[in-house]
């Protein structure tokens, strides 16, 4: 066991706090963003699952500051805002987070293409999982296309958001 020789300065403490809450806050913004009709600008009707990007990114990069209850909270917020089945996306997010955690060493420090490919698989699996759950919940076979289209858009936009997250992460890692 090693002990810290002196207490951290207030600035360091603030930096630490920012780092500890950063993934959650980024996830929060992402979840809210998925309810903003962004695609309406181009007369389209797709709402990419921005929250899933945040969950995947931080599960791979910094799971130590992105605990399961933060993931759960993000999913729950999504469910509450969407008026869909309560707990559906919370369950999907937490399960995907758990699965990604077991595989994260595959992606850490590797080429971005691999990281992206991992997200493709994660998005596809969570999309199908959510579709299955929703079909069970409503007691009928729903059309899988809306969720597949959503996931396709999410995967396509992932590099952009991963870059943004990376910038934030680097910024705060310097401070933390």
């Amino acid at each position: 066991m090693s002990f810290e020789p002196i207490g951290p300065t207030p600035a360091a403490r603030a930096g630490k706090l920012a780092l500890l809450t950063l993934p959650f806050l980024v996830g929060l913004v992402c979840v809210l963003l998925s309810f903003v009709p962004v695609s309406a600008i181009f007369n389209a009707d797709v709402a990419p699952a921005f929250g899933l990007m945040a969950v995947y990114y931080w599960a791979v990069q910094r799971p130590d500051v992105f605990p399961p209850y933060a993931v759960f909270a993000l999913g729950l917020l999504y469910d509450l805002l969407s008026a869909g089945p309560l707990g559906l996306w919370a369950l999907v997010y937490v399960v995907i987070y758990g699965v990604v955690l077991t595989q994260r060493l595959l992606f850490v420090g590797r080429a971005f293409t691999l990281f992206w490919a991992g997200f493709l698989v994660a998005a596809l699996v969570s999309g199908l999982f959510a579709w299955g759950l929703a079909s069970l919940y409503f007691g009928q076979t729903l059309s899988p296309w809306p969720v597949l289209i959503q996931m396709a858009a999410t995967v396509a936009l992932f590099p952009l958001f991963a870059k943004l997250f990376e910038l934030l992460q680097e910024r705060l890692l310097v401070q933390g």
């Binding site: 399961p68 999504y78 399960v95």
Partner: protein
């Protein structure tokens, strides 16, 4: 890891992380089962979260709608001449329709006066902006920035410039949720014009809702207009919904007039079912009119009423 001092603690954290992961999975699954019951607590929690998020969503949706306007106006520059031509033609046609509508309006007013029809009270409305888009791939809802402060209540119809889009299912103080006609849970009593066949419009998360409980003894055809029937007393009758189409497997669906991608401003109709309205007298002008006709003794003449008044 970056934080060197935390390194020895990692395995312990790993175990506790796994435990809390399992706990969270269980909790989510439990919520999913519990939520089936649609309890009051769940509804309240939804409403509070929506109310809290609405100002943020509204803030975020402003630049979006501004950007959309820019994209739309650049689009329009490309087609401005064609569009102008089209509008001229349409205007000519509409003027003819206006003539016909005015004639019919006066005719209907006379008939209503003669029969002392109890006219529906005028419907108040409040206009709001859609600030929150659809709630994910399994739910078709919008969040609109008007709430109980503007007397919006559950069950009220929501229309845009083209027709009915859905109804309010939950209200907070400053935000409400619209259940779109396309949602899986949406059921709306409709009537198919001109045969006035009654049916139920049932959403299934696809763009064109199904028409259910179609009577077999009344003929309806693809291309017929579908409007709200007003049965059940929740929605005002006669709101335009869409056009009847027939799918390859023989089922009827309705192509909605309002395409949701165009949504921006919507109107919430504060309709109350007229179950307790006082007996109305015909409008004063029509009474005078009828008196004048009685004096002239041409009441039964079928030609003279109609266009004139």
């Amino acid at each position: 890891m970056i934080d060197q001092t935390n390194r020895p603690a990692l395995p312990i954290r790993d175990v506790s992380g796994r435990v809390s992961l399992i706990f969270m999975v269980t909790l989510a699954a439990a919520l999913l089962l519990l939520g089936r019951a649609e309890t009051y607590v769940v509804d309240q929690a939804r409403q509070i979260v929506t109310d809290l998020a609405a100002p943020l969503l509204e803030l975020a949706s402003r630049p979006v709608s501004a950007a959309r306007r820019i994209v739309e106006s650049t689009d329009q520059y490309a087609y401005v001449f064609d569009e102008n031509e089209r509008l001229r033609e349409e205007n000519t046609r509409l003027l003819a329709w206006k003539e016909a509508a005015l004639k019919l309006e006066s005719k209907v007013a006379r008939f209503e006066a003669l029969l002392n029809v109890q006219v529906d009270p005028t419907i108040d409305y409040v206009t709001g902006r859609v600030v929150g888009d659809s709630g994910g791939p399994f739910v078709e809802t919008f969040i609109v920035n008007v709430g109980s402060e503007q007397n919006v209540e559950s069950g009220q119809a929501v229309i845009d410039t083209d027709g009915l889009i859905g109804r309010i299912v939950a209200t907070g103080q400053r935000a409400s949720r619209i259940l779109l006609l396309t949602d899986l849970n949406s059921r709306v009593p409709v009537s198919v014009e001109p045969s006035r066949a009654r049916a139920v419009l049932a959403g299934d998360n696809s763009a064109s809702p199904r028409l259910e409980y179609v009577p077999t003894n009344i003929e309806i055809n693809a291309g017929d207009r579908v409007v709200t029937s007003g049965h059940g007393g929740l929605l005002p009758p006669g709101l335009p919904i869409g056009v009847l189409i027939q799918t390859e497997d023989g089922f009827y669906r309705v192509q909605l007039y309002s395409t949701r991608a165009r949504l921006g401003m919507v109107r919430v109709l504060q309709y109350e079912f007229p179950d307790e309205i006082d007996l109305q007298d015909p409008p004063a002008i029509l009474i005078q009119d009828a008196d004048a006709e009685e004096e002239g003794a041409v009441v039964t003449d079928p030609v003279s009423p109609g266009g004139g008044t």
